[in-house]
């Protein structure tokens, strides 16, 4: 199916390396975000903005995971992305409802 001449495999190796570099950066950022998140709570910053910032950090981390670690940014991932976002939509409204229109 795929042509596998030596040169293309050489090319792929390079590409993989490139990608690996990106992923290392991603990882470092994720660690940094986690550190920020934990320290904000440990040093008891004001609740009013800690919570939104925490949530934003979490969302960004998850985007990193999905797009870099799980390759959703790559092509060939249209269907996965579509269905995953479908799930995410349902997930979001589920969480919203359960935290907004139940008692207490």
């Amino acid at each position: 199916m795929v042509s596998n001449s030596n040169s293309s495999s050489e090319y792929n190796r390079k590409k993989n390396k490139e990608e690996m570099k990106q992923q290392l950066i991603t990882f470092t950022l994720m660690i940094v975000f986690t550190l920020i998140a934990f320290s904000m709570v440990i040093f008891e910053f004001d609740k009013l903005y800690v919570i939104p910032v925490l949530l934003i950090l979490a969302v960004v981390q998850v985007i990193f995971q999905l797009y870099y670690f799980m390759h959703m940014k790559n092509k060939d991932h249209e269907m996965p992305a579509f269905m995953f976002y479908g799930g995410l939509t349902v997930a979001t409204i589920t969480i919203l409802t359960l935290s907004v229109i139940t008692w207490w």
Binding site: M79, M83, G86, G87, T89, V90, I93, T94, T97, L98, I101, T102, W103, W104
Partner: protein, 618 residues
């Protein structure tokens, strides 16, 4: 061909064949018979309900038993009759319609069926083991969590296990439709039935997990003393209602969309016209699926969520009428200018249009939140959902069975008997349920074991019961028809209806590899396109070659059997810890089978080119 061989086999061999099959066509048969079996059970329960309500203050059955009956009727019909019928159709038709040799995961396909069957048997075992669940098919907590005995435990485990099977099936068909279409079959050339199955499968994928979680929480509450739905410990029963309906509303579209798909095949075929507004139909299907997730709280208008929530969900619910209306009008205009042949299948479609329209319109009436304060939990709702479920889903299943029976079994159902079934069922249906709208408005709540005389409800209930008997008669005629056809029916050709889609290009019933050569699709209604160009059949897209086929396996059956056994251990270990042995034993069987499956490579086998050349067909 495969049945020809099967007929020469003994009973044991046939049984083994079905226990181990991974062939989607045989799995379709299994789903069909499983669904039919549970449909009879659910129908008998309905008949007892109707007999109990034939006159006021009746005591044909006791109050507690009545609650078990109505719970089991609803649960059985939705999960173990309507759902398997739909899976039967998916299996029988989708791979053929997209020009595939099988589904993406034949093994999982079989597993899905056996899980469904295990779930259904667990649920119904409750009848024999001290009482069925009695909290309604919606199982609202805390009635369900405090219901004595083990009835509700059977409900929880039965649905959990069959739900896993359904989820597997859903994913399987999503992947099948995305990856296994024949060359040339773009998304916009897919037959509409396949489209509806695609959307339905997506709904299954996103809706069932909510039920799974709900059932887990309920199980924890009942068996392990957690406090999710226990108000005394800070629990919150509304969570169950939300989780159930987040699943429950999409579920009703899971049921109806395939029926829409069926009518979108039947109506064009018997009008000799292509589907009017195909693109709009596809779009409407997707939109209904999408909106289906935004409206569940319309089942909870009276729960007390507040006016803002009620208003939002009321308007969102009404919006679904628009894409559904698009469908109704497109069907009407498909017939417009056509050449309508009134076969039995078409008759069901013709009966469906007014019936479902009525049911849909009462749906919109229910969606008007303040009006729903009166309808909610009254017989008006019962009337609404039987109009859409029976008038939509069951009519659709009858239509599809008459339409695809020749493809599935190679024999034509008797048309005369079919028409008799239709008329008795159709008239009986309207007699039963039309009057219930008024009963509801006259103050009859649903789920009532009996009603007192002198409330003006007597005549309506009597008429309703008479109608139910007429329906039962129709169903019995249908079963007679099935038996009659099996014995006396005549064999049919590839294409008995002058069909338009790929399934009619191959033998009836199809050989087990379906297509000797995968066809090349050149347009919507691929077979019709070729017919119009004077070709007898589709062009192959590949040279004749060895065909790769999956191997049969008993493992799916064993896995489900293990879970079946384990459930009983699970339910009864609260009474006596020795039941843990049963639980562990069952799980060991399941895990053992899973282990064998993952360690043993199964690459399938090949049917050789030479053998294919010898065989006839295509």
């Amino acid at each position: 061909m495969s049945t020809a061989i099967a007929q020469k086999q003994g009973f044991g061999a046939i049984l083994w064949d079905y226990l181990t099959t991974v062939d989607h066509k045989k799995i379709a048969h299994l789903y069909l018979f499983g669904g039919g079996f549970f449909f009879i059970i659910g129908g008998l329960e309905a008949m007892i309900i109707r007999i109990q309500l034939i006159k006021p203050a009746n005591d044909f059955v006791s109050a507690g038993f009545y609650n078990e009956l109505l719970t089991m009727h609803g649960t059985t019909m939705i999960f173990f009759a309507a759902m398997p019928f739909i899976f039967a159709l998916m299996n029988a038709v989708v791979p053929l319609q997209i020009g595939a040799r099988d589904v993406a995961f034949p093994f999982l396909n079989a597993l899905g069926f056996w899980l469904f069957l295990a779930g259904g048997l667990i649920l119904n075992a409750s009848w024999l083991l001290g009482g069925a669940p009695d909290a309604g098919w919606t199982a609202y907590a805390p009635l369900s969590t405090t219901s004595p005995g083990h009835g509700v435990d059977f409900y929880v485990l039965g649905l959990q296990i069959s739900g896993a099977g359904t989820l597997i099936g859903g994913i399987n068909f999503l992947v099948t439709i995305v990856n296994m279409r024949a060359p040339g079959m773009t998304y916009m050339r897919m037959p509409l039935f396949t489209w509806t199955i695609f959307v339905t499968s997506a709904l299954i994928l996103f809706a069932f997990p909510a039920l799974t979680v709900g059932l887990f929480l309920m199980m924890f509450d009942r068996l392990f003393g957690s406090a999710f739905f226990n108000p005394d410990m800070g629990g919150n029963t509304i969570i169950w209602e939300h989780l159930f309906w987040i699943f429950g509303h999409p579920e009703v579209y899971i049921l109806i969309l395939p029926a829409f798909g069926v009518f979108s095949e039947v109506i064009p075929t018997f009008s000799k016209k292509r589907l009017f507004g195909y693109t709009a139909m596809v779009f409407a299907t997707v939109l209904i699926g999408f909106l289906g997730f935004m409206v569940w709280a319309h089942h909870m208008f009276t729960v007390g969520l507040g006016p803002a929530a009620n208003a939002i969900f009321a308007v969102a619910t009404m919006a679904i009428a628009v894409p559904t209306g698009v469908k109704i009008f497109n069907w009407l205009f498909t017939m417009w200018g056509g050449s309508i042949r009134v076969t039995t299948a078409m008759l069901w479609a013709l009966g469906f249009i007014p019936t479902f329209t009525l049911g849909g319109m009462t749906g919109v009436m229910l969606a008007s939140a303040v009006a729903d304060y009166q309808y909610q939990d009254s017989y008006f709702v019962v009337a609404h959902f039987h109009y859409v479920i029976v008038g939509g889903v069951i009519f659709g299943i009858f239509a599809s069975l008459h339409y695809w029976w020749p493809k599935m079994f190679g024999k034509m159902l008797n048309e005369k008997l079919g028409k008799l079934t239709f008329w008795t069922f159709f008239i009986g249906f309207h007699l039963t349920f039309f009057i219930q709208h008024f009963l509801g408005l006259m103050g009859m709540p649903r789920r009532t074991w009996t009603y007192l005389p002198g409330q003006g409800l007597d005549n309506g209930n009597l008429i309703s019961t008479i109608g139910a008997f007429l329906m039962a008669f129709g169903v019995i005629v249908f079963f007679y028809n099935v038996v009659y056809t099996a014995i006396k029916g005549e064999k049919v050709s590839n294409d008995p209806w002058d069909g338009r889609t790929l399934e009619w290009t191959i033998a009836s019933p199809p050989p087990h590899y379906n297509f000797k050569q995968i066809p090349l699709v050149r347009g919507l209604d691929a077979l019709w396109v070729e017919k119009m160009e004077g070709n007898k059949n589709l062009m192959p897209s590949e040279p004749l070659d060895d065909i790769h086929m999956p191997n049969s396996s008993i493992l799916p059956f064993v896995m489900s059997l293990g879970l079946f056994i384990a459930s009983f251990g699970f339910i009864y270990q609260v009474d006596d810890l020795r039941w843990l042995i049963v639980l562990i034993g069952g799980m060991l069987i399941t895990f053992g089978a899973m282990f064998v499956r993952s360690v043993k490579d199964d690459h399938g086998h090949h049917i050789h080119k030479e053998d294919l050349e010898k065989g006839d067909g295509l």
